[in-house]
Amino acid sequence: MKLWIPVIASAVVSLSVTPVLASAQERMPDTTQRKQPLKVWGAQFEELEYRYSDDDEEAGVWDADFFYGTDNFKARWLTSGEYSFEERAYEKLENQLVGQIPISKFFDAKAGVRFDTPEGPDRTYAVLGVAGLAPQWLEIDVNLYVSKDGDTSADLDAEYELLLTNYWILTATFDATVAFSEDREIGVGKGLVSTESGLRLSYDLIDRAFSPYVGVVHERKYGDTADYARAGVGSTEDWFAVIGARLSF
């Protein structure tokens, strides 16, 4: 019986003391940077190049990506365009502002808006996309677009890098655009609209920050889109020799 007294007493004491101790255990909260999500920014030009076509047309082309954010959310500005030196006009000028979140181990979802402001009529679209790394190291980017007028379209970008050496890299790209409704004003017919395939040989000259390349690009329009192009002055199929650089800051 005597034995119980200290046990009970210590139980009572520990119970009454516990809350005090528990708060004392916290000591100090970690408010350092380490406890904050890591914030990262990036600026990359996947393509920044001069193109020379089999019809002796010259163009400047870029495809760039600027972002800021954490593992859980990134804000991205994607910009791409094509400037024709003959016509002194943007044949293509596309800007996207999207928010990006991870949805699986290798893939992210994106949502935002796209503004097309080339020579000719402008367009604004809502964008929903998925981007990531598919098996066998295929970089995939698929997007669905809905214009203000309700026209829908989609595109698929795929990229594969073949390491000839650890510095000489052969990059194969394939882009395809499909329209689910016609938008005649900007020359888009229903169905498969166009494809662009490229092969670029690059050399990592300064780290992965500056990698000059040369390559060939093939562009083709299909179906009604090709017919509209033929009716105008545009071509339906082009081969380009390209020279440029991949940049990463």
Partner: protein, 577 residues
């Protein structure tokens, strides 16, 4: 309890008998010249590495640290057992040291051996903020030596650490220039057959994993005591002398395989604690580990200390010589290491869909890997179950080499360049156990997790920013189970309390402060929770730690006096790095 009382009494008595030392350190911007490039960095007392601090066991030290930087700083005494307020981790032990401020660390030295110190703020440590600590024991050492040198290694990178982190987050293979190429495909094809090679590449491609994913950060210059390979740090000796080399790996990211061609090394200490001597030809030192070896050069000639990085992308080099200016040949780098399927042993989600190449024919005997159900849930897949897998068709560059601390058939198993003995964790036996052997109260599983493609690193799938602290109870013994589910090696470092690495030697298990966990393996360590307060517990690879492979450990309870002291501590909380 008794031990604490004794320690308490001792610490009261010691100042009285005069064993107290005062030390001064300034934290400065410095210039670091690797011989290949010159870079701004952070150092101590105007240099990187900083000085060697020499303490005596039983001494009460006060160290005045003056911050001459324009940002917060801190010093962590790596491996030292001390009150948590003195441990130097901003946000966990104390708020940090403000620019222009002098902070005085005060703690008793209760141990002996080779240790080091470094900043725990931002990326100051990889920028050069580290130095070495030698603590002389109170009693006699169980080995003899005539002279000694600190051999402190680092992997100096030309890029600023902030930029390295950003590059790795954007392009995780940014620095990996040992990737498999078209050329390697053809050489593998001619060696292992075309179809086998295609299947192998497809299997890895399907998982989106790289066999070459051994070193995140290549392009560094290996340095020893602040000298690059060309600057050749040299330690002098008289032929016939026993020379004690205190190796410390202060690298941000690099494991080194160390050898001294022509000399056998006797390993006598690991992480500051004496081990039963082992003679080796070569050993691997993980990031933040220390190894003390004794060599006995008999001839009037120079010997090269060659530290080759684990992934074979770089090296550090120094010389032992009878006189200044002498040199010995510098070996070439061996073939880069390649991971094998065995290194994936701990991967969760290793189901059929993810791993088509891993079945059926080319993998040979499946042994006990039976049934769809087992394949579907491999998150708890341990080592022993993998042993039924025959990896013979997969590349095993090291041939039959094996080490119980690597996955069976792992591509990372090291072998000695001269074909001799390579140190394994299994060879480490404590010279004198620090604690009585007893059953741990509980086991805590820590899965080492990450995603190489996103460069996220975590524990149990949770990054530090989202994690709750690990709570331990003062006086208990806990068993930590590390399950490495990533493809990289992680040097796990628990502050404030010893990590008793389970090598199967019972009470002779070695006592460490940093435990390397190889991919595809499960490693156990036990800890006597004898230090109240809160502590850091993390992967010591700088960029893994910064990306979230970090935990706060709270030790609940403890001696009355410490409770009171730490409640007071509450009033001065806050602070930033």
């Amino acid at each position: 309890m008794k031990r604490t009382l004794v320690a308490g009494t001792l610490s009261l008595l010691l100042p009285a008998i005069g064993l107290a030392g005062e030390y001064n350190l300034t934290v400065d911007r410095v210039t670091i010249d690797t011989g290949e490039f010159v870079k701004e960095g952070v150092g101590y007392n105007g240099k990187s590495p900083g000085p060697t601090l020499r303490f005596k066991e039983g001494e009460e030290v006060s160290i005045n640290v003056t911050n001459n930087l324009d940002e917060m700083t801190s010093i962590h005494w790596h491996g030292l057992i001390l009150p948590f307020e003195q441990d130097g981790v901003p946000g966990i032990s104390f708020p940090g040291i403000k620019p222009g401020e002098t902070f005085t660390y005060k703690f008793p030295i209760t141990q002996s051996g080779t240790y080091w110190f470094h900043s725990h703020s931002g990326f100051q440590e990889p920028e050069g903020a580290f130095g070495s600590i030698i603590i002389e024991p109170e009693g006699r050492e169980p080995f003899r030596y005539d002279r000694e040198y600190v051999v402190q290694l680092t992997d100096k990178h030309p890029h600023a650490s902030e930029r390295v982190m950003r590059n790795l987050k954007i392009t995780p293979d940014y620095y990996n220039r040992k990737q498999q190429t078209v050329g390697e495909f053809f050489s593998d094809a001619s060696e292992n057959g075309f179809l086998n090679t295609v299947k192998e590449r497809l299997a890895w491609g399907d998982m989106r994993m790289m066999q070459a994913d051994v070193e995140d950060l290549q392009g560094f210059t290996g340095m020893i005591n602040g000298k690059g390979p060309e600057q050749n740090w040299t330690g002098l000796f008289e032929p016939g002398e026993r020379v004690r080399l205190r190796f410390i790996n202060s690298s941000a990211m690099t494991y080194f395989d160390i050898r001294i061609p022509g000399l056998e090394m006797t390993v006598v200490q690991a992480d500051g604690n004496n081990v039963q001597p082992v003679n080796v030809d070569e050993f691997r030192i993980g990031v933040a580990e220390t190894y003390d070896v004794i060599v006995r050069p008999k001839d009037e000639q120079a010997y090269t200390i060659f530290a080759e990085s684990m992934g074979r992308s770089g090296y550090a080099r120094a010389t032992l010589a009878p006189e200044e200016g002498m040199e010995a040949p510098v070996p070439g780098l061996r073939e880069p290491a390649r991971l094998t399927m065995a290194d994936m042993g701990g991967m969760p989600g290793m189901d059929h869909g993810d791993m088509p190449g891993m079945d059926h024919g080319d993998m040979g005997d499946h042994g006990d890997m039976v049934g769809e159900n087992e394949m579907a849930d491999m998150s708890d897949m341990d080592h022993s179950r993998m042993e039924g897998m025959d990896h013979s068709s997969m590349t095993m560059p090291e041939g039959g080499a094996s080490d119980p601390f690597y996955a069976k058939g792992s591509g990372l198993v090291p072998t000695a360049a001269n074909g001799g003995k390579f140190l394994s964790y299994a060879d480490l036996k404590a010279q004198k156990p620090l604690y009585e052997e007893r059953e741990p109260a509980r086991e805590i599983e820590l899965r080492l997790t990450g995603n190489m493609e996103r460069y996220t690193w975590s524990i149990n799938g949770v990054k530090y920013e989202d994690a709750e602290p690990i709570r331990l109870k003062y006086g208990e013994r806990v068993r930590f189970k590390f399950v490495n589910e990533t493809m990289m090696t992680h040097p796990m470092h628990l502050h404030g309390m010893w990590s008793i690495l389970d090598v199967g030697a019972g009470q002779w298990n070695p006592i460490k402060h940093t435990v390397s966990v190889q991919p595809g393996t499960t490693v156990y360590m036990e800890t006597e929770v004898d230090a109240p307060g809160q502590w850091a517990f993390h992967c010591h690879l700088t960029y893994h730690m910064a990306a979230g492979m970090f935990r706060k450990v709270i030790v609940e309870g403890g001696p009355e006096s410490t409770q009171a002291a730490s409640s007071e501590q509450l009033s001065e909380v806050g602070g930033d790095v």
